[in-house]
């Protein structure tokens, strides 16, 4: 456990190594090796630390380590006088962060291995760059989940946003890819604005940013059931940040575009880890949120609406990755719905299972895309199950998991969410249930269009014997002619299988009591969602055993959750479970019928309901709306400012320059005509005067004599006049 600080730093070191040296010097093999080894080691240490954590008593499952001081205490104004603002580089290992670290390192490691095969078509330098970015992402993500205060978490928060941009725009020469990267970063930024304001307000209210200290302080404050107080404002601001990062309405627009990045990136960042950071933030600050019921309502409503909307859009997408992207948005909505109704543990449980099956689905789709030589359109696929059996089976497992078919993992986590929502608000539950139906439908639509039915793709040359044998393992970049869809190499299929195993068994840590389980995960995570006092009190009351029985689970549930403590009878719970399974089966059956048995039904339905179909295909025109308002507004504002700068500011500068030139010209004129003029005038006068006066020098002596006479006469006159 004391080595927990290595967990983020190992991939960080790998990123530095690959980034500084790898792009220039490493071979592809070396770069891949560096990245996977660091992730593998990080995974190992995470497991070790997790085991160590389990060994502690439930009430005392926390391990803090401070690596260095980042910001020494600065006196700063808070609501209660002058507080000391300090931020140490602190990591905190507790049930929530330990679980998250496991998920990130585990799924991350598998995706790294998968990428070795998937990205093989890249050049050597670009290959190393990819792995550097991927490792960098894991470094930031682990900093995010392991941070002990809001500021360290924010470092990770910003860092994963940066890496998301770098990885989405990995093929930056493609205009759509670089645009998508920018879009992701900018939309994230909008959320980050709210997040930063939330951090400020947290410090202002509590005088500290440390999670544990904030939770303890908040626990003693009254619940803001009536109105919208400081805690509600804090939670709302933090939720705005979560909205941006986790692609909820209205900041969901970046996630579908983010599919421009390589598929393993989509799997890691936009399925398993980064997008779940928003859920993590809300879960981490559970104590704050439970004190702000209005904001929890908002969270739940936003979550369920996002889930429903994204599911509807996913019904009609033809790009295999887009379907999965909207599916991710939808499942994230489920997670927020869970937090909104107070089921924080259920949200994190769903996060974990979702990481497994969504990563699996993405990697599987990557395998399919790889087999179809880069083509992502499902209308040109079909009947691939006989060419790619491993991919088919693993993706089927993932689909069943996401649809919520028992005993796969998705069933348990989704069912827990539906159950808790049912207890809270029937309307929200109804919407969530419809979404579940749609989820099952569109996922099986994906499976049908890709793996079943008839092959609709391009023809290929049946020259399998002519193909170079060893080239198949690599990408199709250096192949020449395409030889039809084929299974992916082992380095890609093994992670698929590993993830499939996870998708099957991950659910068993959260089996509810209704099914004779002990809901281990909920109890495990509980200390993270409550203040220390409540946890300690509970521990004193019931003993320090990790495995608990039903009674303790009930009291624990009641102590941790403020809203009603009502729970249904076992029979009602079974009824609900059965209902959700029925919904899933129905969805699957409709998809099977419309896309496998009678494919023309889908086309005819699309024609019949052309209007709604068009609206769904165009994603409710949200992007267009944003483009017309915000984007246009910003660009027009920028253009206006540029015009102002050009005309007024530059105009003033030019004007002053012009005035200077004008005054210089005036000075010049003055100098030339007035000053020089005077001087020249003098000269001219002298010249002209001499011209006139020299005529006196006639050379005639008698003229001179006459002048003398005139002089004498004049003098005489003067003399006489004065006498």
């Amino acid at each position: 456990m004391s080595l927990i600080w290595l967990v983020p730093l190992l991939p960080g070191f790998g990123a530095a190594l690959n980034g500084l040296l790898g792009i220039r010097f490493f071979s592809k093999r070396a770069a891949g090796l560096v990245a996977c080894v660091t992730m593998g080691l990080a995974f190992g240490i995470s497991i070790w630390a997790f085991v160590g954590l389990l060994g502690l008593a439930p009430a005392a499952r926390a391990y803090d380590v401070v690596l260095a001081t980042w910001i020494p205490p600065i006196p700063l104004e808070t609501a209660h006088g002058i507080g000391a603002f300090e931020a140490p580089w602190g990591l905190r290992l507790d049930p929530l962060s330990g679980l998250m670290a496991l998920v990130v390192t585990g799924v991350g490691f598998l995706i790294h291995v998968y990428s070795i095969g998937y990205m093989d078509g890249e050049t050597r330098g670009a290959y190393a760059r990819y792995f550097s970015y991927l490792n960098l992402f894991c470094f930031f993500m682990l900093t995010l989940v392991l941070g002990s205060n809001l500021l360290v978490m924010f470092v990770g928060w910003e860092g994963v946003g940066l890496c998301s941009y770098l990885l989405i725009g990995y093929w930056y020469e493609k205009q759509s890819a670089s645009d998508a990267g920018k879009k992701a970063f900018i939309v994230n930024r909008i959320g980050d604005w709210g997040f930063v304001l939330g951090i400020f307000l947290v410090f202002f209210t509590f005088g500290t940013l440390d999670f544990r200290a904030v939770a303890d302080a908040a626990a003693s404050m009254p619940v803001e059931a009536a109105g919208f107080g400081t805690l509600s404002l804090i939670c709302l601001l933090l939720f705005i940040g979560a909205t941006g990062k986790s692609a909820q309405i209205p900041l969901h627009v970046w996630l579908p575009d983010a599919m421009e990045g390589p598929t393993p990136v989509s799997a890691l960042i936009h399925a398993a880890t980064m997008v779940t950071a928003g859920v993590y933030v809300v879960a981490r600050n559970a104590v704050l949120f439970t004190h702000a019921p209005m904001v929890m309502q908002i969270v739940a409503i936003v979550g369920v609406l996002t889930a429903l909307m994204a599911a509807t859009i996913g019904l009609v997408q033809n790009d295999i990755k887009r379907v999965l992207a909207y599916s991710t948005v939808s499942q994230l909505g489920y997670m927020f719905l869970a937090t909104g109704v107070g089921a924080f543990a259920a949200a994190v449980f769903h996060l974990m299972t979702h990481a497994f099956f969504k990563a699996l689905l993405f990697l599987g789709s990557g395998s399919v895309i790889h087999a179809m030589a880069g083509d992502q359109d499902m209308r040109r696929m079909g009947a691939l199950k006989k060419y790619m059996p491993v991919t088919y089976v693993t993706m089927l497992i993932g689909t069943l998991a996401i649809a919520g078919i028992p005993p796969f993992s998705g069933f348990f986590s989704k069912d827990e969410i539906l159950y808790r929502t049912f207890l809270d608000n029937r309307l929200l539950w109804a919407l969530a249930a419809v979404t579940a139906l749609l989820t099952a439908f569109y996922m099986f639509r994906l499976m049908s269009m890709t793996f079943f039915g008839g092959y609709r793709g391009p023809a290929w040359q049946h020259g399998a014997d002519a193909a170079p044998g060893g080239g198949h393992g690599a990408g199709h970049g250096g192949h020449g002619a395409w030889h039809g869809p084929h299974e992916s190499p082992r380095v890609m299929t093994v992670p698929l299988m590993a993830l499939a195993v996870g998708a099957i068994v991950a659910g068993f840590v959260g089996v509810p009591q209704a099914l004779w389980g002990n809901n281990a995960i909920e109890h495990f995570l509980e200390p993270s969602f409550t203040a220390s006092a409540a946890v300690r009190g509970e521990a004193v009351a019931g003993g320090a055993d990790a495995t608990t029985d039903a009674a303790r689970a009930e009291t624990g549930a009641e102590a941790a959750h403020e809203e009603g403590g009502a729970h249904l009878s076992r029979g009602a719970e079974w009824g609900l479970m059965l209902f959700s399974v029925l919904l899933a089966v129905t969805g699957i059956w409709i998809a099977w019928r419309n896309y496998v048995v009678r494919p023309q039904v889908a086309a005819s339905l699309a024609e019949r309901f052309a209007g709604p179909h068009r609206m769904l295909t165009n994603k409710y025109y949200v992007d267009e709306l944003y483009g017309a308002t915000f984007v246009r507004g910003t660009l027009d504002g920028a253009r206006g400012l540029w015009t102002f700068d050009r005309r007024v500011v530059d105009g003033a500068v030019d004007g002053s320059g012009w005035i200077t030139r004008l005054s210089a010209w005036i000075s010049h004129m003055l100098d030339t005509y007035v000053v020089d003029g005077l001087v020249n005038l003098l000269g001219w006068v002298t010249g002209e005067g001499s011209y006139v006066l020299r005529r006196v020098q006639t050379g005639l002596i008698q003229n001179y004599a006459l002048l003398m006479l005139i002089g004498v006469f004049g003098l005489l006159t003067l003399y006489l006049l004065t006498r």
């Binding site: 020299r694 020098q697 006639t698 050379g699 005639l700 002596i701 008698q702 006479l709």
Partner: protein
């Protein structure tokens, strides 16, 4: 009859002087001009002697002697110049002695 006062002599000498001036200004023959200058000097002498008589002192005449001396010297030198000029320019027309001009 009006007694002859020095004023008469003054008028006489003034007239003689002015006649000399006119001669200097009007005549073009340089010899005549020199002679006109002699006239002017004579006018001065008349004045001096008249007032010597008036004041019964001979110093006026002494002054007149000196004037005559100077007149002689000047006439000699002047004529020498005229001769030299005549040898060069073959003329005694004062209008043609106009080298000192612009």
């Amino acid at each position: 009859m009006v007694p002859i006062t020095p004023a008469h002599y003054l008028v006489l000498s003034a007239s003689l002087f002015v006649i000399g001036v006119i001669g200097v200004l009007v005549r073009r023959n340089v010899i005549v001009i020199l002679m006109s200058i002699e006239l002017m000097l004579n006018a001065v002498n008349i004045n001096l002697v008249a007032f010597a008589r008036e004041w019964q002192h001979v110093v006026g005449q002494v002054f007149a002697v000196f004037v005559i001396v100077v007149a002689a010297a000047e006439a000699a030198v002047g004529l020498g110049i005229i001769l030299a000029f005549y040898r060069n320019k073959e003329t005694v027309n004062i209008d043609e002695m106009n080298l000192m001009k612009w």
